[in-house]
Each structure stands twice: as C-alpha cells, then as structure tokens.
C-alpha cells in the first residue's frame, strides 16, 4: 500500500537557524504531495503542495521540491521563528483520484527556542 515516511519525530532548534524535515513516500500512482502544519489544539492547515517533478514550491518562507526519482518532498526553511513551533505532516494523495483521501506520515514536531 501507499506510505509516507518522516524520519524525525522531534526537531529542536534555536530561532534563526535553518531546518529541513525529511519526507519520502511510496506509491504506485501519480502522486500529489503535501505539507500540513498543525499548531497546538488547532486543525491541520496546508503549508505546501506539489505534483510537479523538480519544481520548487514556496509559502510563508517554507519551500520544498518534489523529486520523483528519489520519491522525496523535503520541507525546508532558511531561518525558523518561534511561531514555527508546531507539528508538521507530510501527506500523499493520488493525483487522479483525490477523493481517496490523504495518507499521512507520522509527523515531525518542531520546537523553536529563543
């Protein structure tokens, strides 16, 4: 079946430093990849998405590039802020059958300290 792997469970870092959250996936169909962010006691919200190979997508200072050759969609930011402390999920859907729903990774908790 389909799967999403996020290797880091917890990332702690100091404000102003760069961060990269890893995401790899396995699927047999044409993938759509997403990053969702969930702040404490809030709903997950879309951060980034892409279905285009080797094209960088950016939003709110975060960026990611879908690499189908390596089945990866890593999330990066050059300088984290305190407000970036949250739970980050990588997710996958079938580009041709969106109604199947999302397959989520286990999530990476990011804690940013002053």
């Amino acid at each position: 079946g389909d799967s999403v792997t996020q290797t880091e469970g917890l990332v702690t870092l100091t404000k102003g430093l760069p961060v990269m959250l890893n995401c790899t996936y396995q699927t047999t169909y044409s993938p759509f990849l997403f990053w969702y962010v969930q702040h404490l006691n809030e709903a997950p919200k879309l951060l980034l998405k892409s279905s285009t190979d080797n094209k960088r997508t950016e939003h709110q200072g975060f960026y990611a590039t879908l690499h189908k050759s390596s089945s990866s969609f890593h999330l990066q930011k050059s300088s984290v802020q305190l407000s970036d402390s949250a739970l980050y999920f990588c997710a996958l859907s079938d580009r041709n059958n969106y109604a199947q729903g999302l397959t989520f990774g286990l999530g990476t908790r990011v804690s940013v300290f002053p």
Partner: protein, 114 residues
C-alpha cells in the same frame, strides 16, 4: 477563517454509549472525509463521501458509520464506543478544481471514553 465546522468540540462518554459528531462545510466542496488522530498524533483516514457515495472505508470497526444528508454535511456515528475510540476526530473537505486535492480541515472533536 474557518470553513469546516465541527460540533461538539469535546465529548466525554462511557463505554458502550452511542455518540454522534457533526461536520458542515461551507466551501461548496463535493467530497468530505473523516480522519482519526490518536494520542500519538497519527492521522488516519476513516471515510470519504462523494455525492453520497462512500468511496473509502478503511478497516475501521463496524460500530463507526458516516451519515450524510447532503454534500455539505457529513456526520460520524459511533454505535457503542470503546476505550480505544478516545481520539480527536477531524472532518475535512475537498473538491476538484483550481485548488484540487487540497483538503481543508475542521478544528476536530475530541472524544474521551471512560
């Protein structure tokens, strides 16, 4: 701005009781979903509904059932709750179109089974 509404926010009940959670979306989407987020924050899809047709039904216990009156509403009923049902239940919606594949989540209903 919230466009997927869920009630109640929080529900405490005893083992064996029946519960029902409501979800309404005002985005005009044609597909709605229920996800379960467990205590480890793992997100797993339970159901999706498209034009009153159940599209995805993961291996959830039979005591769970989705109920839809129209494409803007998708409720979740649990016939006889078990302790392992304690979780946050997230409703989401999406639609084909310019912003296809993006799922918008509600704030969730937190269930505690005693």
């Amino acid at each position: 701005e919230t466009a997927v509404f869920q009630t109640p926010n929080y529900h405490v009940t005893q083992v064996g009781n029946e519960v029902s959670f409501n979800c309404k979306q005002t985005l005009g989407h044609d597909t709605m979903y229920w996800y379960k987020q467990d205590s480890k924050k793992l997100l797993k899809i339970m159901f999706s509904y498209n034009n009153k047709q159940l599209i995805v039904n993961e291996t959830v216990p039979r005591r769970f059932s989705p109920q839809s009156s129209d494409k803007a509403h998708l409720n979740l009923r649990i016939k006889s709750v078990e302790p392992e049902d304690s979780a946050v239940y997230l409703c989401a919606s999406s639609s084909r179109g310019a912003n296809q594949d993006t799922q918008y989540f509600g704030p969730g209903t937190r269930l505690l089974v005693l």
